[in-house]
Assembly symmetry: C2
């Protein structure tokens, strides 16, 4: 029987492609979606629909309200920048220790379900900005997983897989297209409106638009008038 996987599924396009990649390799997969108090809770509905469309064997949604921690534009403490991808450095949309937390939850779920793979959609576009998307972070988390759990000390720590790690956004779009990802269900925006429509102006919307453009494909979830929405 194929090894089963826990996939961190946010509702954005990267994790949807990572889920489709997992499915294509024949692994039964469990969707783990975390409501951490992000502004863009429309992502959570998107994640549920993607899990359904890509045949997750189970969907687990966990809530942990990081608004009490603060320190991030994504949990409401700072403004989401709309002026175009900035000049390097860590953006205000960084959430302190977010991926450590998400992977910790995934690690516990993998152990409880006997899953031997833990998959996330981190990629090099992310790790140009976010410390917890970089290869060094993933390697350190893998080392931690080997000593952190009962499964780990028994030699059954889940293998951490980031299949998009070295992909550009255009490569992710093309991979998703070939794997049948329902891009129309994905939401990448950091600051969607109340109806869950992308703003077209935040860094995430801009990177996504450039990815589809470079891949030569239309984005079925593109906002109708990109960049014209008032902040």
């Amino acid at each position: 029987m194929a090894e089963s996987a826990v996939v961190l599924l946010s509702g954005g396009m990267d994790s949807a492609v990572a889920a489709a990649w997992t499915r294509a390799r024949g692994h039964p997969w469990i969707a783990l979606t975390v409501d951490y108090g992000q502004r863009h809770s429309a992502e959570l509905a998107a994640a549920a629909e993607i899990a359904r469309r890509l045949g997750a064997v189970e969907t687990v949604r966990l809530a942990v309200d990081l608004r009490a921690v603060g320190g991030s534009a994504l949990t409401g403490a700072l403004d989401v920048p709309k002026g175009g991808a900035g000049g390097g450095g860590i953006p205000p949309t960084y959430v302190p220790a977010r991926n450590t937390l998400l992977l910790a939850l995934g690690l516990g779920l993998a152990e409880a379900r006997g899953a031997t793979l833990l998959v996330l959609g981190a990629n090099r576009i992310d790790y140009s900005g976010y410390p917890d998307c970089r290869p060094a972070f993933l390697e350190a988390f893998q080392a931690l997983a080997c000593v952190a759990t009962k499964a780990g000390i028994e030699g059954r720590a889940p293998q951490l897989l980031a299949p998009l790690l070295h992909c550009s956004k255009a490569e992710i779009v093309r991979m998703g297209r070939s794997l049948g990802v329902p891009f129309e269900c994905t939401l990448s925006c950091y600051d969607p409106d109340l109806d869950g429509r992308a703003c077209g102006a935040c860094d995430s919307c801009r990177l996504r638009a450039r990815g589809f453009s470079e891949a030569g494909l239309p984005d079925p979830a593109a906002p109708p008038e990109r960049g014209n929405r008032a902040n």
Copy 2:
């Protein structure tokens, strides 16, 4: 100005002693208590009172319901054993990846508040049973912290401190006594009754009772008729 600390405060005696140790060294300290769906939610009220009595500068309570993950007696999926500390191995009160999760939350809070210390009450009684209390786990988490956050990659990762790591329960009791820990507010029981009274029969109650006994001190929170309560 003294470095500030985030202390993982559960409501049990070990983390209370770790908090008192932090205070005694002159560090302003922030109490972080996590409601993870444990049976013994009376611990949460105990933690709040300990934070107040030991002068926490801030108390942060975060909720993440691990009952959806399951796999532990502490979150209701298994029974809490009452027959005396078992013959080795990992007990059913183990919660998959719990300390990885608690430390991930502590890491994020430390970064958001600029705290440079992250303190927990793990000790050698715990790590005889729980993988995520052992020195190898703590070392791996410290390595992760150095690459996981903005503070980490800027060389300001919090230092992980487990001041009780090599202490016996009796040594923890004596240290707590000398540091003015309000033991009467602490609750160590895995399965207290609805009024928050300890059962006197679970592993945690037995270890606590032996610790006070070996230290030659009365436990101000001891159950009146230890071991006589029906399960």
